[in-house]
């Protein structure tokens, strides 16, 4: 039964992965911005939740709307200041430029976080953290259940938003043909700005959950690393696939921790990334390109 317990934790971890990665799937997969600072935004989200919990006694799940708003605004400023000038670049040029700019952002945000919150690890512990219930002999934490539900809601919510609403589809149209999207009457500047803000605000949800495990200024790159693997695993441009890819990665890591030891889980995810890039570069869960 012990393996079952590992799978449960794998599913929960995988759901957090999916929650972090879904914003990146939008920003990188659809908008074509290689955004290395994505994990740092989740870190900021986690600190906001931590702050609101510590100073205002606000439950981390209840702080989500507020931190989403804050990250949305940070995202707008970031896009305006750093990325909007890349909007008409060719895809390759856009990736190179945004990678450099966002790597600079990682350094800035990490150092700012050390200044503001110190390098110590922080954690939100509520009355219910650590509480579990019994499911067929396995321990399931309550937070884990909420995490899985949130991941499903957010990933598939975003998927349908992009597929079914005019606004969502215009984001998709811009990613396929920037100039032609303008001919359709789409206000491309405003749309990209808001889309970036949405991608940023989604990291607040992941952040609220991360804050209940552990947050420190250096977690940004770890999270973006996982997110990149998931976006590639799901297939660049796929949103719904992010959920499955997150679960797959979470469970594989957790099962490998059971079989080969917890120190090798990072290796497992990178080996998966390599195998995917060699054998199925379009991703596992993408039928073709596109949502």
């Amino acid at each position: 039964m012990e393996i079952g317990q590992f799978i449960i934790y794998g599913i929960i971890n995988g759901s957090i992965y999916a929650l972090v990665a879904v914003g990146l799937a939008l920003i990188m997969g659809i908008m074509g911005i290689f955004y290395l600072a994505h994990g740092c935004m989740a870190m900021i989200g986690a600190y906001i939740s931590f702050w609101l919990f510590q100073d205002a006694g606000l439950d981390p799940f209840l702080s989500i709307p507020l931190s989403m708003g804050i990250l949305f605004i940070i995202g707008l400023a970031m896009y305006k200041g750093l990325f909007s000038s890349m909007k008409a670049f060719s895809p390759g040029q856009k990736i190179r430029n945004s990678m450099l700019v966002s790597f600079g952002l990682v350094l800035i945000i990490e150092n700012m976080a050390v200044l503001i919150w110190t390098a110590n690890e922080r954690r939100v512990s509520t009355d219910y953290s650590g509480l579990t219930f019994d499911l067929a002999g396995l321990r399931v934490p309550y937070i884990g259940v909420v995490t899985v539900i949130l991941a499903i809601l957010v990933v598939f919510g975003l998927h349908y938003f992009l597929k079914k609403t005019f606004f969502g589809r215009s984001i998709w149209a811009i990613s396929q043909d920037y100039q032609c999207a303008r001919l359709m009457g789409i206000n491309v500047d405003r749309t990209m700005l808001i889309a970036f803000g949405i991608g940023m605000s989604l990291t607040a949800i992941a952040g609220a959950i991360i804050s209940q495990y552990s947050v420190s200024p250096s977690i940004g790159l770890d999270w973006v690393n996982k997110s990149l693997i998931i976006v590639v695993l799901a297939g660049v441009g796929s949103i719904g696939g992010v959920f499955y890819a997150g679960l797959l990665l979470g469970v594989l890591e957790s099962v490998s921790a059971y079989f080969v030891g917890v120190h090798y889980t990072g290796v497992v995810s990178l080996v998966i990334l390599l195998l995917i890039l060699v054998f199925r570069p379009q991703g596992i869960f993408a039928k073709g390109a596109g949502i």
Partner: protein, 236 residues
């Protein structure tokens, strides 16, 4: 009337259009002919607001267009079929059509307009749920025109209508555009390299060379003029 007055357009330091003036009469079909690289597409892109003229003006009726962003110009009733179709290849035919009706005004009449476009191009209805990238060349051009009509334009600009299409398909599409023009009163402005086709199709013609307008007149006169015959039609 769509009137373009004395516009100069630059790409960086490179001047693409020189003092171009052109009138497109309401309810008529106007064509702009000229060789590859003459600046014909640039002129249409200037009307749609994708490129901005450095000097001169563009008006639709009494509304000035050249100082407005591209997405506002679509709202004002100007729609373009870009060169090479430029469909959204990963979207279905239906999604592409719906993107054409993005502007708020057009969105309200979405259902009605789609029915109309399906009536004009029944083939699109059959292929509604296929990916646009999987269509044949002729079907793609039909979809590109259908998508442009979805915004309920007063002026329809078509860039390189016949490019890469079989003559039979071109004739079919021209007939449909004539119908759209006659029945719905939509003004059509076509840019074409195929001079004979363009002049036979249009009421009025303009000739462009190296970014300048070098000839104009009723299409029939242009078709019969010795210069046009010598330069473009290869007959004397």
């Amino acid at each position: 009337m769509l009137s373009i007055k004395h516009i100069d357009v630059f790409y960086g330091d490179l001047q693409a259009l020189w003092d171009v003036s052109l009138d497109i009469e309401d309810g008529k079909i106007t064509s702009l002919i000229g060789s590859n690289g003459a600046g014909k597409s640039t002129l249409q892109l200037a009307v749609t607001g994708i490129v901005k003229p450095r000097s001169g003006s563009i008006h639709a009726g009494s509304i000035r267009l050249d100082n407005q962003p591209a997405h506002k110009i679509v709202d004002l009733g100007i729609s373009m079929v870009p060169e090479g179709r430029r469909l959204f290849p990963e979207m279905t035919v239906l999604d592409n059509l719906e993107m054409g009706a993005f502007s708020r005004k057009a969105r309200k009449k979405l259902g009605e307009t789609i029915e109309w476009v399906y009536e004009i191009f029944p083939r699109l209805k059959e292929r509604a749920n296929q990916r646009a990238g999987a269509l044949s060349g002729g079907e793609q051009q039909m979809l590109a025109i259908g998508r442009a009509l979805m915004s309920r334009p007063k002026f329809l600009l078509v860039d390189e209508l016949s490019l890469g299409l079989a003559p039979l398909v071109v004739r079919h599409i021209c007939r449909i555009l004539e119908e759209v023009n006659r029945l719905k009163g939509i003004t059509i402005f076509v840019v074409e390299q195929n001079v004979r086709m363009a002049l036979e199709f249009a009421d009025h013609g303009y000739i462009m060379e190296n970014g300048r307008i070098v000839g104009r007149g009723p299409s029939r006169d242009l078709l019969n003029s010795e210069e046009v015959k010598a330069a473009y039609l290869g007959t004397h």
